[in-house]
Symmetry: C2
Subunit: 603 residues, 2 copies
């Protein structure tokens, strides 16, 4: 029996920065040589960085560079074998410009090139836009490594098992063909597979299932780090021929991850984010028990912020602190991602802002140790209101009949004045990015102000619903080094934008008064995204909210109709949201979901 | 010989509004019956509306509805045959959820269903995201119509000719297979094919080539109207077996278009937009002669505005009028698209605004007959400046070392105050949308203010470069009913944002001083988008600008480097641009081109 060590190089590339990616790869290669490792495996498309989306369409020089550096890399490999993901020109007479390929480098030469046959083109994946799907021939997928036969599989080619999935997306299963025709000793899977709620469970079950089904071990290497909205957790791993997990790399970090073959318990198994193991059974109904996903959510968002800032040359963040849940949670996430000294929170009270809100904002900032300033916006809102009144009086002559005279117009001046200050800070201080603090529930409802709270360079919580955000805030209070950074008062008060007064109560209008209870709203979103349910089905099925509160059918119907109408209207707001991390199992983030604004929804 | 009339139903559907689309189809059907027409052909995916993008992923009820209405429609067709584009559920065990299908309805029944085999997934097309590509079997594509054999082709299946295209995108050619195996009497092509610069030339040459090559007439039906960024010109047509154009429907309008078979010169041939015929040879180099494309550009933008407003329930538009080219051109396009009474232009002068600019803005508004108001923004900018100064003094203690103290911060207050007023008008008056007036050249350079001139609900000229916009403005001045709406002074003055003073001249900073000459910039954009050229290639090749002006190699190199740096930085601005019509042969509009913000360009 052999005793070989394979290195799974779990790295964090930058899309298009070939030299950077090359240098990182080289670092690991040198270390691997020192340790006498015989095979190093890099993730899918590693040299180019994943996902390239359309830049390789307009900038073919990037692809030329990745070829050049691949050849340069091969020259460093006279005494070590390497599997390297890269982008290849398609020189055939027909088809798309490129292949998503893997080079097998041996004896300092590119010995074999393997081309991906199944190209994910859905949700956050758009490989069908620029890659040509290759014909899958199993003999091309075998490499001989120290008299072992390894079968090579590229990401999506592993996600097509007819027993595991109810309706696989493609009409053939590369893994099945490879195993049945070539009988490899083990499988190596090169991936770039993003994180999501429940994804770890799916990945684990799938790989375990396939290893066991074919009685063939699987080694899986994944990239880590973030590109805009998409975050990769890393978490490379190995399953033995019985489908048992025998090795697992770090999550949300680069990892020089050695796996010894034959696979045994001597390999390193790093922990998953706390709680994620508990999500190993698929969630069949909506639940407010977010606990098992909170550390993963926290790590996804903080890593997404960190990489968005680092990779794009931003260093500092500025955000408005209202004393509410959304901005407070964003402040904590930012402080942890880029350092408290690099965050400025500004309280920008208007006449509606309560003393309590101002105090809460300040207390949060002090607890976090971020920079904090309080600037009343009265002069700005007064000047704008006066100017607006002049404008509207003039327009009245032409369009008076269409005038709402609703307080909304003047309410929004507050949100927009605040965003103006944040962008001013961004203009005045180098490498400083304003933060959009809208959450997912409110975005669904279009309950966010354009050029106001919706405005910023990055939107950390745009894929976190309100009920989950409450849980995340509590989790952060309990699990960060400095406990209870978010004052209890913020967690107890019902959410509200503090832009308007509710005439019925004489107090600031609460979000749930303007919309519907968040617990109900979040279940509608969950059912729509996860089950693609229709309103009629939702009406018939019992919501968690109904188990906990009285709810008439008429009221439920009204809320569902309100949801439909508001979502229809919210489309044009979604189209101008800044990027933010995909966290949930489904999102409305444009990197994943594209809806024509001009369309009629029916649900 | 037969003498049959076929109706090409060139219609403008609304995506997802099945009932609306059905009722329109029915109207044409009734009229066709009255005229004793035997076959009616509707465009690709007509019942659903094209492009659905992702809504059918989340809202399967829309697809259920389109099936229901298809069946209802079939019941109306006891005495007439119909080809109808619709979306079908894929009930097979593997594959994507849906097929892009065509139903052949005969004797009141759905007699045959044909499924699209080639699914465009590039640029503005994303069919691979949700449709399963069908196996192409030629026998399934024949319908017998009055003892004639018609072969049915769906859009992209016609765009894959190995003689016509240098590198066809797919590895088989459905049209070739259909003709060679089935010998149809003629081909019917159901399409949803958007307009672009040079597209008419491409389409005409391709269809003519195929008809001639196979000695088989081709009838082509296309939809019309716009969905967000994408506009369909209609222009359905027929080519005889010699490849000669013998029938052509209207452009940019619905058309009840009868074609008589056998094809002869008796058929109706509507004119193309003026000049388009002249573009029948592919443009090999950059040119400032935009004339042949200006009416098409004008029609594309005005139709896009009209449909964006009508289909989304907007009625009125408000925009800032600076007296410059961008806002003036937008005002003309808006007035023509939605009616002058529905447009408000607001001049919002600051201390930098010249008397000339104010006069020009007013004169334009008077010429157009739109509503016009002048509102100085001094109170707003003063209040903001004062507040900013307080904020910055405070922040100075923490981040003073990172402070720019560049005038940009305060310059931008002007643009943002103006956008605030426009959004205020939108909040206060029903169904009113603010307009973003940025042009393509400036967007490439990131020379647009976030929450300022870049902000709005629709961006009419975001795919028109500055040099082309000058030509378009002159064209509108010459070709609209009311001549010279745009004052000559606006066409003569060099562009500038009038936000800043150039310290060298003491006058408002001109855009070309801040950037580079537009003539040069627009050629760089053209070469990048059309030829995917690298900077090195551009450096070596002679630009039009170099034929007309002196330009040192050093200066050219500097401009190219500046271009690369600014485009890299502009990415995050592109991501929050509102939708606007795709006009050019390539665009940076997100409906077509997706670039990761987090990426390193190399060109």
């Amino acid at each position: 029996m052999h005793n070989d060590t394979i290195l799974l190089a779990q790295l964090n590339p930058i899309v298009g920065d070939i030299e950077y990616n090359y240098n990182k790869a080289l670092e690991y290669l040198k270390k691997a040589k020192e340790k006498n490792i015989k095979l190093v495996v890099y993730p899918e498309l590693y040299l180019l960085g994943y996902p390239p989306i359309d830049i390789i369409e307009r900038y073919p020089l990037i692809v030329e560079e990745n070829i050049k550096y691949l050849e340069k890399f091969a020259q460093q490999c006279s005494d070590i074998a390497v599997l390297m993901g890269f982008c290849e020109f398609n020189k055939q007479k027909r088809g798309k410009k490129y292949f998503n390929s893997v080079a097998y480098i041996n004896n300092g030469k590119i010995e074999k090139i393997m081309r991906k046959s199944l190209l994910p083109t859905y949700s956050e994946f758009s490989e069908g836009r620029y890659f040509e799907p290759a014909n899958f021939k199993s003999q091309d997928r075998i490499i001989n490594f120290n008299s072992l036969k390894a079968g090579i599989i590229i990401c999506e080619e592993n996600w097509n098992d007819g027993d595991f999935f109810q309706k696989p997306l493609y009409n053939f299963d590369p893994l099945e063909i490879l195993v049945k025709e070539q009988h490899p000793d083990f499988i190596i899977n090169l991936s770039a597979s993003p994180t999501r709620t429940k994804k770890e469970q799916l990945l684990n079950n799938l790989l375990s299932h396939c290893a066991k089904k074919y009685s063939t071990p699987i080694l899986y290497v994944n990239q880590t780090g973030s590109t805009d909205c998409i975050t990769f957790s890393g978490t490379s791993r190995a399953y033995d021929k019985d489908g048992k997990l025998v090795a697992r790399a770090k999550s949300y970090a680069e990892d020089f991850f050695e796996v010894t073959y034959p696979l045994s318990e001597k390999n390193r198994i790093e922990p998953l984010p706390k709680g994620v193991e508990k999500t190993l059974n698929s969630q069949k109904e909506f639940s407010l028990d977010y606990e098992p996903d909170l550390e993963r959510t926290y790590l996804t968002i903080t890593n997404a912020i960190k990489d968005y800032f680092n990779k794009n040359g931003f260093k500092r963040a500025v955000l408005g602190l209202s004393g509410g849940l959304d901005s407070s949670s964003c402040a904590v996430l930012l402080a942890d991602a880029i350092g408290k000294e690099n965050v400025i929170g500004i309280s920008m009270p208007s006449k509606i802002t309560s003393a309590q809100s101002k105090n809460d904002a300040k207390e949060l900032a002090v607890n976090l140790g971020i920079n904090f300033y309080e600037i009343p916006i009265k002069d700005m809102t007064d000047a704008s209101s006066n100017t607006f009144n002049k404008v509207f009086d003039e327009i009245n002559s032409a369009w008076g009949e269409y005038r709402y005279k609703a307080p909304l117009t003047f309410d929004n001046i507050q949100a927009r004045s605040r965003a103006m200050i944040l962008w001013g800070v961004s203009n005045e201080f180098s490498s400083t990015l304003p933060i959009a603090t809208s959450d997912k529930s409110e975005l669904y409802m279009g309950y966010a102000t354009i050029n106001g709270d919706m405005s910023g360079g990055f939107a950390p919580i745009c894929d976190v619903t309100k009920t989950k955000l409450f849980a995340l805030a509590r989790w952060m209070n309990n699990n960060r080094k400095i406990k209870n950074a978010i004052p209890e008062a913020i967690l107890l008060k019902p959410p509200g934008a503090e832009l308007a007064i509710n005439p019925k109560t004489g107090k600031p209008l609460l979000a749930e008064e303007a919309l519907m209870p968040y617990e109900f709203l979040d279940e509608v979103i969950w059912r729509l995204e996860n089950l693609q349910q229709k309103a009629q089905e939702m009406l018939e099925e019992k919501f968690l909210y109904e188990k906990r509160h009285n709810l008439t059918r008429e009221q439920k119907k009204q809320w569902l109709e309100k949801f439909a109408a508001r979502v229809q209207f919210a489309q044009f707001k979604w189209s101008i949201m800044p990027p933010g991390p995909i966290v949930d199992s489904r999102s409305i983030i444009r990197a994943e979901y594209i809806q024509p604004i001009t369309s009629k929804l029916k649900f």
